[in-house]
Structure formats: structure tokens, C-alpha cells
């Protein structure tokens, strides 16, 4: 990146900027506490359960965390820009049933179907962004409304029934295949993380997102189009929710509008756990990854050590509060 453009500069400058880039990627303002929490959880579950720290189970966690992680990448942008999106789970529902219905009714081309799913996600994100910035409605309300609208439409167009997807390529591309031994859902997660990292930490767009969330007035007075920046964050989240919906569909060989309720809370929790400030201006992709791994490890580990599903919900909530409380103390 930077070193390429400043090649004539003294070597020390290059080193410096390379070191800074590494620092930016690996650190956030306060992810260390959460990283320790993750390690503590892993150790705890490894002691309590024989199966937890095995290759198969870790791969399991990776697969199970996919949806949350991918959507959390987008949510990181939105929260850094000082907005929120409560509708991601509903975007996922409407995207997946749209893709499935399209493949059943119009074309069994998996790529076109995927494009429809992602396109629907992008469109909903665009609407969220436009309503938030152009009409000045707080994004909390816009996306709370959209949560219902998108979910309702998904129910209407499917008659609340699952839509089967019978397309082996689709299954393989989004869930069942492997690349170099790595299951594709994890590959997709890594791609989302990589794109998110480059956009947030290396691109000019990322600078605009931080500035917009850090101080929207100062950003505007510096010539940054804060409205467009926020809209793009919503669209990015829509696209990623669309991608997540394809993985979700391939996993069950069907698009189910009745699943994934409340997933938005896991997504938001992952982002906040990862050190992103709810007030905007701060946060990192690596932090978000740690945050969603904590959610994934909890979901998985609590089952393995035999905590009842009702208790799981309470324990998860408690640990989220605890982790955020710890990370608040500097």
C-alpha cells in the first residue's frame, strides 16, 4: 500500500508505515481484554469437555460462526459510522427466499440466483441508508421498521413455507465444498473479513467512515459527504447479509423465512464485543472477528458441557455484559 507510493522516501519511513499498517490491522483501541476473554473461554471449555478442542469441533465452530461473522463485518462499518442496523436478520431472510424463488421459477443458474440474493440485500441496505440520511430518521427506527417489513414480505412470498433449492453447484459453492481443505463457508468468511479489512483500514472510504462516526460535523466541514458514506455502509451490510443468506440456504438445501430470528442481536453483540464504540468513530475488523468467535465459542461450548438451551441464552447474555463491562475499563 503506502510503501508502494513512497518508494523514494527514506527506508525508515517505509518501515514505519508498514509497521503502522500492521499495527492497525492487528490492534484496535481495546481488543486485548476481549482476546483474553476468548482465550479464557477456550481454555475453560477445553477443560470441561473432551471434544471441544478437536479439529472437527473447531471446524464446526467456524461453520456455525459464519453467518454472524460475515454480517458483523458490515455491521462494524455501520456502527463505526455511528448508525445501527437492526434489520440484518430480516435482510437475510428476504435475500435467501428471493434467491431460492428465482432459481426455482426462472433459472436454475446458481450464479444468477446468488446475484439476486445479494442484489436484494444491497437494495434493502440502500433503502435503509436513504431513509436514515435523506429523511433524517434515526437508523434505529428505520431498521426496526425494516426488520418487520423485510421479514413480512419474506413470509408473504413464500407462504411461510421453506423454499427448497435443488442445485448441487449452489450447495457446493456456498456450503459443502472445500478449497485447499478449507470448507467454503470459512473461505467466504475469510473473503468477507479480507474485503472488510482492506476497505476499513486501507481505503479512503474507511477514513471517511471513521471521520463520519468520530465527528460528523467536522467531517462535513472537511468536505466529506457523510450521507453517502453512511449509505454505502448500509449497502455493504446488505450485500454481506445477502452473501450470508446464500450460505444459510446452501446449508439447509432450502431457504427458510422462519429461521434466524434474533440473529441481529448476535451480530451487534459480536461487533460491540470486538471493541467497536456504539458512539461511532472506533472499531476494527479483527476485533469484530474476535467478538464473533466469542459468540460462536459460547454457542458451541455451552452445548458441549450440557448447559440446557434455556440457560444458554441467559449465560450468553451475562457473558456479553461482562465482557463489554471489562473492556470499558481502560
Amino acid at each position: 500500500m503506502s510503501t508502494a507510493t513512497s518508494s523514494p522516501a527514506p527506508a525508515s519511513t517505509g518501515d514505519n508505515s508498514r509497521r503502522t499498517a500492521v499495527r492497525d490491522l492487528l490492534s484496535s483501541d481495546r481488543p486485548y481484554g476481549v482476546l483474553l476473554a476468548l482465550i479464557a473461554l477456550v481454555i475453560f471449555f477445553s477443560i470441561k469437555s473432551d471434544v471441544f478442542f478437536t479439529g472437527a469441533n473447531l471446524e464446526n465452530i467456524g461453520r456455525q460462526t459464519t453467518l454472524v461473522t460475515i454480517m458483523a463485518v458490515g455491521m462494524t462499518f455501520i456502527i463505526i459510522s455511528a448508525e445501527i442496523d437492526l434489520s440484518v436478520a430480516s435482510i437475510l431472510k428476504l435475500s435467501c427466499v428471493s434467491a431460492a424463488l428465482f432459481m426455482n421459477d426462472f433459472s436454475d443458474n446458481w450464479a444468477l440466483g446468488a446475484l439476486v440474493g445479494i442484489g436484494v440485500g444491497a437494495l434493502i441496505g440502500l433503502v435503509n441508508g436513504l431513509l436514515t440520511t435523506k429523511l433524517g430518521i434515526p437508523s434505529f427506527l428505520v431498521t426496526l421498521g425494516m426488520l418487520g417489513v423485510a421479514k413480512g414480505i419474506a413470509f408473504v412470498i413464500t407462504d411461510t413455507a421453506p423454499v427448497l433449492v435443488d442445485n448441487r453447484t449452489f450447495w457446493a459453492v456456498f456450503y459443502e465444498g472445500t478449497i485447499a481443505g478449507i470448507p467454503v463457508p470459512i473461505v467466504w468468511t475469510l473473503i468477507a473479513l479480507a474485503i472488510g479489512s482492506v476497505l476499513l483500514h486501507l481505503s479512503t472510504f474507511g477514513r471517511k467512515v471513521y471521520a463520519t462516526g468520530g465527528n460528523a460535523t467536522a467531517a462535513r466541514y472537511s468536505g466529506i459527504n457523510t450521507d453517502r458514506t453512511k449509505i454505502l455502509c448500509f449497502v455493504l451490510t446488505g450485500v454481506l447479509a445477502g452473501l450470508a443468506s446464500l450460505i444459510f440456504t446452501a446449508q439447509g438445501h432450502a431457504a427458510r423465512p422462519d429461521f434466524a430470528d434474533g440473529l441481529e442481536l448476535d451480530v451487534i453483540a459480536a461487533v460491540i464485543l470486538g471493541g467497536t464504540s456504539l458512539f461511532g468513530g472506533r472499531g476494527t475488523i479483527i476485533g469484530t472477528l474476535i467478538g464473533s468467535l466469542i459468540i460462536g465459542v459460547l454457542n458451541n461450548g455451552l452445548v458441549l458441557i450440557g448447559v440446557s438451551s434455556s440457560w444458554q441464552i441467559a449465560v450468553k447474555g451475562f457473558i456479553i455484559i461482562l465482557a463489554v463491562a471489562l473492556s470499558k475499563r481502560r
Partner: protein, 516 residues
């Protein structure tokens, strides 16, 4: 009345902030039923004195006597308990609630079970307002009231309880002429009941209008206390400005003798024919009433005038934050209709805003990130942020502007006010703008950094940039500017070369008594 003991008696108060002595032994007293005006330039110590009285600042030495008893306020609550009420410029009302609810906020009369009876509150509030002579309806929502009435509500709220001492800090700065009258009447009404009012202001005419006595502070010391009926405006102005100011101004001058007056005046004949960088022709909008103004390359133009006169709005109109509803804005000879700062910045305009925390900087970001902010389009290579170039620019800005910081990755919140302000200038260093707009460029900046900032401004001008400065400090305008425009009520009333204005006193008079 004068035979009574004073409500407030401050004796020989000293206050220091680190090495800075804000008050060097100030005495001040307030008698029952009088309005005692407190005058002085920014930094003279007015607000520090008020904060000692309100318990916000602790004194290092001296005595505070309230109702004749020595006291030592440790908090704002202590002060309030002693019967002192402060009304600040920023309003502390809840806009969505009624006047009555605001008056009783936190002390609602309960009717068992913690329930609030709104009818009782309204009745009690209306009775109180009528008794005290406030022309306000208790049932009105605060956000439906004109500004003056909100301010009155604030005063009414401050006077609830057993209040004998009322402090008004620039109460008229946001009021129109008609609204001021309402406020003055209420103040007169309040003093009739024996309340003493300390009235902090910059507007001398108000002093003569409503005060009984007037005290002037300068450089943290008393200059004089007079009965208002026995003093003239000339005398007050010279007390505020001080005898040393001419010399002080010259001192600063000699330091930068060569820099001063930019190159603009040397070859004024050439420059005055140069095409203006920006020109306003009869510009009107909600806050401007037909502004005509020209700024040429290398010229530093100062906008003098009261707070609320439209100075800031002129800058905002030049920066794309306000549209000209009527009239024309010409930039480098071409008529422009900017709708966003983005367009103005792209054309070569830069703004150093009045409130650097709110409008200028992202405080939790680093120096490098802040300096890159307005130049992101220049710092993008194939969509990626060119961090190396951004850091190079930040380093150059930090070195050129002498920003005192551990490094370019220091967060802005860890810098002093002066260094923060230098970073705001640093945002616009590369490439240099064609037009630089400055709104109170030295507010909250210590003296040393202020001189450096003046140097920075002159350097921009020497490089051919047109500069417009808004400042409430008239010395600053005289030091910096080639040309001065007095703004009053959304119009430029006077435009003079600053060399034609002899002494700060003359400028004070121009601002206080704008040409009619």
C-alpha cells in the same frame, strides 16, 4: 440601600491554572437591588471570577463573603444553596416540556405514590410567574417560545427558591433588539425585590441602559468600579483596552515586523487592482441582509461586529454551508452556487471553524488522520488510502506549524488547545487554499501559540491566499488585518483600511456604535 451589607463581597481573589494566573487579586461587591455590570476583554478574568462565585473554580487566595459571612464553595451545589443563581448562555431547559414542568423539574410536588399532578404544577408555576412579573405562559412548550422567552424561563427557573444573587452571563448575545427589551424589563422587575444582579457583557450600550454600577477587569486585575451615571463610554473603552495596548501591539509587531501587514500593503497599488478571489454582491439569506464584500489575493480582511451580527454567517456562505437566496457569490470571477462544503473545498476554500472540537477535529483520531481528512481525494491511489503520503504531509505540517506532540499518531484529545488549533490549520496546508476563512482563530489558545498562529495566517496571505478573519478580539483584528469590515445586523456597515483606524478605541467605537 447602600447602607446594607453587600450580598457578595469578593476580596483580593487570586486563581491560577498551572502557571497561568487568571486572577491576580480581584475585588468585587454586589449590593441588594442593584445591577452591577462586569466588563473586560476575553481572557480578562470575568468568567473565572464568575466561576469562583458559582463554585466551579476554587480560589487560591482571597476571601469570599456572602451575606457578610465568609464561605468557601466546593461545588456548584454549595453556591446554589447560598442563594446564588447562574444563567449561562447555553440554555439548560428541556425543550419538549412545558415551562411549568421545566420550572419544577426535579422538585415536582407529589400527590402520594410518586405521581405528579400536572394541574397543580401548572397552577403553581403560573402563580409564581405572575408574582415575579415574568410575561410567560406556564403551559407553553419551551420549544414553541421565541428565544428571549426561553431565556426568561431560564431566569425564572434560576430564581425559584430563595435566590438573592443572580448572575447573567452575556444574556443578550443571541437576542434581537426587541427581545432585549423584554429581558431588561424583567431584570428591572427582579431588582425591585432586592435581588442583586451581576451582569457580564461585551455590549457597552447595555451597561448604560440597565446597570447601576460597572466594574472593569483587565489581565486578571481590577481596573475600576464606577457608578454608571458618572462615567462615559469613552472612559469605559479606554479602561477595557488599557493604556499598555498600543505598546503591546507594537511589541508583537516588532517581533514580526517583516511579516506583519503581509505583502499586501507594500504594493497595495498593484494588489488593489488584482481580481478578487471572492466577492459577495448583495447576498441575502435568513441571516444576511445584503452583504457586499471583496477579498483580493494576499489580503487579510477582518470582520468585526457583535456576536450574532452575521459575521460567522458570512463565512458560512463563502464555504457552501449557507446558500445565497438573493445576490451573487463570485469565486475567482465566476458565479458559484455551492450547496455543500465539498464543492467549496474542491474550488480551493478552507475553513478554520469557531468550535474546533465540534466542527474542526475528530478528537479521538490521530494528528495524521485529522490532517488527511479534507484532502482525501488527493490521498487516494486506486481507491486505497495513501498512508505514506498522508504521513509525509502530517509530518511536514507538524514541523512547519511547530505542533508540540510526541508524534503524528498522537490523538488530538491529548493536545493542548493551541496545538489542536495548529492541527486545524495543518489540515489545509497542502495544497494551500485560495481562500482561507477563519472564525475566532485564537479562541482558547495560550499567548505563545497565538503569536505562532498569527505567523501562520500571515504566511498563508504572503503566499497569495485571500484570508477572512472573524474575531471578537479587536486587538487581534488590528494586528492581523489589512482591511476591516464592521458587520451589523447582517450587513457590512463600514469598510476601512486598518491603517486608517487609529488605536483599538476607535475600532471599539465603530463596533459599539455602527454607522446608521
Amino acid at each position: 440601600m447602600t447602607a446594607q451589607q453587600p450580598l457578595v463581597d469578593l476580596r483580593d481573589i487570586t486563581v491560577s491554572f498551572g502557571a497561568v494566573k487568571a486572577l491576580r487579586g480581584v475585588s468585587f461587591d454586589l449590593r441588594p437591588g442593584e445591577v452591577h455590570a462586569l466588563l473586560g476583554q476575553n481572557g480578562a478574568g470575568k468568567s473565572t471570577l464568575i466561576k469562583v462565585l458559582s463554585g466551579v473554580n476554587q480560589r487560591d487566595g482571597g476571601e469570599v463573603l456572602i451575606h457578610g459571612k465568609e464561605t468557601n464553595f466546593r461545588s456548584a451545589q454549595d453556591s446554589r444553596d447560598s442563594g446564588i443563581a447562574m444563567v449561562y448562555q447555553d440554555l439548560s431547559l428541556i425543550p419538549s416540556m412545558s415551562v411549568a414542568s421545566n420550572l419544577f423539574l426535579g422538585r415536582e410536588p407529589h400527590v402520594g405514590a410518586g405521581l405528579v399532578r400536572h394541574r397543580t404544577i401548572h397552577a403553581q408555576a403560573q402563580k409564581y410567574l405572575a408574582e415575579q412579573g415574568f410575561p410567560i405562559k406556564a403551559s407553553a412548550r419551551v420549544d414553541s417560545l421565541p428565544f428571549a422567552y426561553r431565556q426568561l424561563t431560564e431566569i425564572a427557573k434560576a430564581l425559584m427558591g430563595d435566590i438573592k444573587i443572580l448572575v447573567l452571563d452575556e444574556p443578550t448575545s443571541a437576542l434581537s433588539a426587541g427581545e432585549e427589551e423584554i429581558l431588561f424589563k424583567t431584570v428591572a422587575e427582579v431588582t425591585k425585590r432586592g435581588v442583586g444582579v451581576i451582569y457580564v457583557t461585551h455590549r457597552l450600550q447595555e451597561v448604560f441602559r440597565i446597570s447601576d454600577r460597572v466594574s472593569v477587569l483587565r489581565d486578571g486585575r481590577n481596573v475600576g468600579t464606577h457608578n454608571t451615571s458618572e462615567i462615559t463610554m469613552e472612559k469605559l473603552v479606554s479602561e477595557i483596552v488599557g493604556p499598555g495596548h498600543e505598546r503591546m501591539a507594537t511589541d508583537t509587531l516588532s517581533v514580526e515586523e517583516g511579516d506583519r501587514r503581509s505583502a499586501f500593503q507594500d504594493d497595495a497599488s498593484v494588489r488593489s487592482t488584482a481580481a478578487p478571489v471572492v466577492e459577495l454582491r448583495g447576498v441575502r439569506n435568513s441571516r444576511l441582509n445584503g452583504v457586499d464584500l471583496k477579498v483580493r489575493p494576499g489580503e487579510i480582511l477582518g470582520l468585526a461586529g457583535m456576536v450574532g451580527s452575521g459575521r460567522t454567517e458570512i463565512l458560512e456562505t463563502m464555504f457552501g454551508l449557507r446558500k445565497a437566496d438573493e445576490g451573487e457569490v463570485l469565486f475567482e470571477g465566476k458565479s458559484v452556487r455551492w450547496r455543500t462544503p465539498h464543492q467549496a473545498i474542491a474550488a480551493g476554500v478552507a475553513l478554520v471553524p469557531e468550535d474546533r472540537h465540534l466542527e474542526g477535529l475528530v478528537l479521538e483520531d490521530t494528528i495524521a488522520a485529522n490532517i488527511a481528512m479534507p484532502r482525501l481525494p488527493h490521498l487516494t491511489r486506486a481507491g486505497l488510502f495513501s498512508k505514506g503520503e498522508a504521513q509525509r504531509r502530517a509530518k511536514k505540517a507538524v514541523a512547519d506549524l511547530n505542533v508540540k506532540a510526541p508524534g503524528i499518531h498522537t490523538r488530538l484529545q491529548n493536545l493542548s488547545g493551541g496545538n489542536q488549533q495548529k492541527v486545524v490549520f495543518g489540515k489545509w496546508l497542502t495544497p494551500e487554499p485560495r481562500l482561507l476563512l477563519l472564525d475566532e482563530p485564537s479562541v482558547g489558545v495560550d499567548v505563545g501559540a497565538r503569536d505562532e498562529i498569527y505567523g501562520i495566517i500571515r504566511r498563508f496571505a504572503r503566499n497569495g491566499c485571500a484570508v477572512v478573519v472573524v474575531s471578537s478580539e479587536l486587538v487581534e483584528l488590528q494586528l492581523l488585518c489589512d482591511t476591516l469590515a464592521v458587520v451589523h445586523d447582517g450587513r457590512v456597515t463600514t469598510c476601512v483600511r486598518s491603517s486608517e483606524v487609529q488605536g483599538e478605541e476607535r475600532l471599539h467605537h465603530l463596533v459599539q456604535e455602527p454607522a446608521r
